[in-house]
Amino acid sequence: MHPAPSIIAFSTFSGLGLGLLFWLGVASSAPTGWVAFAFFAIGYLLAVGGLVASTFHLGRPERALKAFTQWQTSWLSREAWCAVAALVTMGVYGLFLVFFDTQIRLLGAIGAFFCLMTVYTTSMIYAQLKTVPRWNTVLTSILFLALSVAGGALLSGRVAIGLVLLLIAGLIQLVWWQIGDKRFAKSGTDMKSATGLGTIGEVRAFEPPHTGTNYLLNEMVYTVARRHARKLRLISLFLMLLLPVVLLLLPFSHVGAVLALLSHVAGVLVSRWLFFAEAEHVVGLYYGMR
């Protein structure tokens, strides 16, 4: 699948921002006043910035509001609703923290729930697709949630729990890669089933329908740069997990914590790039490609 920068930025940054808002929502004693303002501002910049970035890949962004209508069947529509519910609830919760030094625990809990639901609905947009076997697993949702909550913990300054969550997220990432590599073969879709010609013999793509490229090939048969996937996985894991863990285990310093966070985000960006670049859509089979 084509790794569109707008989607990679959206899912990474909004995941991180919503992770931070989640921790602010469930905190036993949330920050108040200016500190709260700073935390909420960062959370909203990331979450809203990500959501705005996601509209950049639309062909007709001016009609984006119509995406709220089909929540009964569409995960993309559900995501829109959950995002609004999370941002509005957390906004009111944050307002009371910043200006009235009051923490409404129930409101925070509801907001935190919608933050996680937003990340979950985002992940389901991908996990629901039978056409992309690598994504089509419940592990995709677990991975998105784990990365969001771990990143949020780092961003909100929770070192101890952040360390544990980082390790868990890294482990899930590893398992997701391992299982993902086998998903296409397991899906049972191959050139034989795609063409229905398998009963005659081995099928080979002889001629594509056109001499140039097309939307399908650009969007769904993105094979460029997959050859560096192994190296990029190691780089991603190093930045997302190993370096932050080492930095956090060192005696605490603000510089170290910021570096750990930046490194983690860079690692997640690489991982998210791979998420798309390595994903193979079954339509590639019609072109004799994966």
């Binding site: 062909g59 089909q70 529509s77």
Partner: protein
């Protein structure tokens, strides 16, 4: 509405005969022509006369080489367009309700004024039947020529999809696949019509007729055959005289 109808009154669709398709691409051109001049946004091209041409098509013809265990390889031309699936995954993922499946005839359509061009429906389709139009920013797909098949301004013989109307080898058939007595349904039953990617669970309405088995050469051929003297004889009579005379000139 992106909820799929539980049942459609009819199941209009195509039956494509892989045995008779000659891969001439006439259906591609007639489809592009009709759908650039009639219903919806025209199918645009990008850089059509330049070095890197591309464009939107609703129907594309692949060619496959199939190698049986014994005997020579076969070349099979393979037209592919929207299969108007009963369980169309492209419809349910649509966030705006632009994609829908009609209850009356099962045609899957896009309401272009509602489409935001997010591309999720194209991701959900295993067959590559949907293509985003770069000029218009909306998703385009086969309409089964909904503006032809019910069009009373057209002569009756033209009230079928443009690709079917134009096919010179009669490899494309149009009809109601929900009616077991229709000509297309009987054709499917007779020739063992098949679904593409049945494991994807989309329940396509369009069916493909597999190529008929090729003739087999069963007589024994003398292994010395290539070494035998040619049977062709020198021309006699008038032709012989003409041959010799022309040789001399």
């Amino acid at each position: 509405m992106t909820q799929l109808p539980e049942k459609t009154e009819r199941k209009l669709g195509l039956v494509i005969d892989l045995d008779t398709c000659v891969g001439c691409h006439a259906c591609v051109i007639s489809c592009k022509g009709w759908n650039s001049e009639n219903y919806g946004a025209p199918l645009s091209d990008q850089d059509p006369y330049g070095g890197d041409p591309s464009g939107t098509f609703l129907n594309r013809i692949h060619s496959y080489e199939v190698q049986p265990e014994e005997g020579p390889a076969q070349l099979i031309h393979f037209p592919k367009s929207c299969l108007h699936c009963e369980d169309a995954p492209c419809v349910t993922v649509c966030p705006t309700g632009a994609s829908y499946k009609r209850t009356e005839d099962g045609i899957v359509l896009v309401n272009e004024t509602d489409c935001i061009g997010c591309g999720l429906c194209a991701w959900a389709c295993p067959y590559g039947a949907r293509e985003m139009d770069k000029a218009e920013g909306v998703m385009k797909k086969c309409t089964l020529c909904v503006d032809r098949i019910y069009n009373e301004n057209l002569p009756e013989e033209d009230r079928e999809p443009a690709c079917v109307r134009t096919c010179p080898s009669n490899a494309r058939h149009f009809g109601d696949l929900g009616d077991p007595d229709s000509a297309v349904s009987q054709l499917v039953a007779e020739r063992g019509g098949m679904d593409l990617m049945p494991e994807q669970g989309t329940k396509p309405v369009n069916k493909y007729l597999p190529p008929r088995p090729k003739d087999q050469l069963n007589e024994e051929v003398d292994m010395l055959a290539p070494l035998l003297a040619p049977v062709a004889e020198e021309p006699k009579g008038f032709l012989g005289w003409l041959d010799k005379t022309l040789e001399k000139i």
